[in-house]
């Protein structure tokens, strides 16, 4: 049931339910993409720093997941919260230690700082774990649910559901929690936030931590879907940018929407053409969006 005709496209006209299955799988993957991009968007929306090490941070989370799974047999879904917390601490420390002094520096200077961090992360992972692909084989890795003609992989369903959950929590946090409101205040008006006595540096560090926690959570779930190698970091950084720019940099809903769009596009492009060329279509979407609506689909609003 799990391999219902997906393995041999291109021989005959592909039946419509295959498209449907691939589209649903793409949307579920897209939700995880969206959560990853959400982290980038939150960081940019508030701190105004572009996290060029975003995908690399996700690969840290993925390696943690793989390591804990193979070493201690911990299920990825159980590790969602702890690993997100680890990434939160990492992001918090990074912002308060390295990035805060760069807030007033020119854009390219901040950018290069994060390029340097990204280089160090990728290659440290390469040194520690080697170039081979690692994977997590959970007991439910091959399970699937059937709903009429629709067959959905269990891993993708769990990953997508968890992504929705985390994103909802994040929306609620920014809408209702006092700290969330304070962070929004920093994003809206930096000087104003200083005047009313908010500790902006600490809030920036918190925000960077939250953004990293998002990408950490996304990374844990991504291990259910793809293999991890050190080199996926830059690829996912780029993907996160494509998603966020497509959806609108600084818009939380835009990041999720962009994730869905790119996930769907990649899945269908993989089916219609060849899977290895799927990213080309994501870039094509980026170019089209930059041409028609440079601020992204949902505009450039602050959080």
């Amino acid at each position: 049931m799990a391999n219902g005709g997906l393995s041999e496209p291109g021989l005959r006209p592909v039946p419509i339910d295959v498209y449907l299955n691939v589209a649903v799988a793409g949307i579920l993957t897209g939700l995880v993409y969206g959560l990853m991009a959400l982290g980038l968007s939150v960081i940019f929306g508030v701190v105004r720093v572009v996290n060029f090490a975003h995908g690399e941070m996700m690969s840290i989370a993925m390696y943690l997941t793989v390591f804990l799974f193979s070493g201690l047999g911990l299920d990825p879904l159980v590790m969602l919260v702890p690993i997100a917390a680890v990434l939160f601490v990492f992001g918090y420390a990074l912002q308060s230690g390295l990035i805060n002094p760069f807030i007033a520096r020119p854009e390219h200077s901040q950018f290069l700082l994060l390029v340097a961090i990204a280089l160090i992360i990728v290659n440290t992972l390469l040194i520690v774990f080697g170039p081979d692909a690692r994977t997590v084989q959970t007991s439910y890795a091959l399970d699937s649910f059937q709903l009429g003609a629709l067959i959905v992989d269990a891993t993708k369903l769990y990953a997508g559901a968890a992504a929705i959950l985390v994103a909802t929590l994040l929306f609620a946090f920014f809408r209702f929690a006092p700290v969330g409101k304070a962070i929004r205040a920093c994003a809206d008006n930096y000087t104003g936030a200083l005047v009313v006595g908010l500790d902006v540096k600490r809030l920036y560090a918190l925000t960077f931590g939250i953004g990293c926690a998002c990408v950490g959570a996304a990374g844990v779930m991504m291990t259910l879907i793809v293999d991890v190698t050190p080199m996926i970091g830059p690829a996912y950084t780029l993907l996160a940018f494509v998603i966020v720019i497509t959806g609108g940099l600084g818009s939380m809903a835009g990041a999720l929407l962009g994730g869905l769009l790119i996930g769907l596009t990649e899945a269908l492009a993989g089916l219609l053409f060849t899977p290895s060329a799927k990213s080309m279509f994501a870039f094509a979407i980026l170019v089209v969006v930059l041409l028609l609506r440079p601020q992204g689909i949902l505009g450039k609003r602050l959080i």
């Binding site: 290069l112 780029l238 290895s276 870039f283 170019v287």
Partner: protein, 349 residues
Amino acid sequence: MYARTSATVAEYFTRARAAFLVGVSPSALLLLGMFLVALVIAPWLLNDYLITVLIVVLYFAFTGQAWNIMMGFAGQLSLGHAIYAGLGAYIAAVIFKRFGIAPWIGFLTAIPVVAACGATIGFLAFRFRVAGVYFAILTIAFAEFARIGFDHFDYVNASAGLFLPVAQYAQNDLWHLRGNPRMFYYVILVAAAVAFVICRALLQSRIGYFWLAIREDEEAARAAGINSFRYKMAAVIISAVITSFAGVFYAFFYNNLFPEQVFSISRSIEMILGPIIGGIGTLFGPILGAFVLTGLAELLNAAMAAVGVDIPGAKQVFYGICLLLVVVALPEGVWPWLSRRLGLTGRRR
């Protein structure tokens, strides 16, 4: 009439030469001359390994100079310069391999293609006000697009890679760029010198001043009547064309091309590290940066070889740490700091 024209031309050249050297202190000129002489005689004193290291240094000095035109002069951060080098490399290599046409003709063939590629990226970005970080992402996206595209492009052997017949050490054929490291050394030395002179001349010209104005404050530059779109386009195209020669050189020096490597982000980043570490927007920054970075990387290699370990990725971690230290401690780069120390501050841009 002719006499007058030739007199005007002669006068123009005299004035151009005077302008070219304006503000250069004699001590700086002397240092530059000594440096150049050292570079010219170096291959007769060094072994092939050290010549190869110097080739890498000059290669990065060259690409750094080219990238600097965009970022250092015109203020447009490109993180996808691998696309220009890659296109130059592939075009020259393919027409050499398929038709036996010399790489110099290949370079001429690549120029319009690379210029068109640069113009496309520039047009998309500058027409639609894609600036700053967005622009950098757009340049990466194009390079990645090219990487995946070439990975599926069977005419150039796709991901299996394109190989050139290995160079003959016995005879140097400059026209077909087949020869020993010493020949390649002089080719890249001349190229780096030409790039340096071009950059100096550009900086001294109208366009150079327009670029600096745009870099410092684009709104103000536009208000002063500078057509910023046109000059930013010029920066991208000039930078792209110069970079493409680096690709031609790369193809014929290394004799193999893989899309996965040639168009990768890390290739683009390698190109920009030199000028950033040396000093963005300076003329000597890219050269100094290339020497510092390649020199230290080779020392690291030698140290690892001496200890008997080979750690893939160690060099990149080292690059990352260098970049981090420079960005944190010397945001202007090493050259402005060094030139102040040497009392050559006049050279700063």
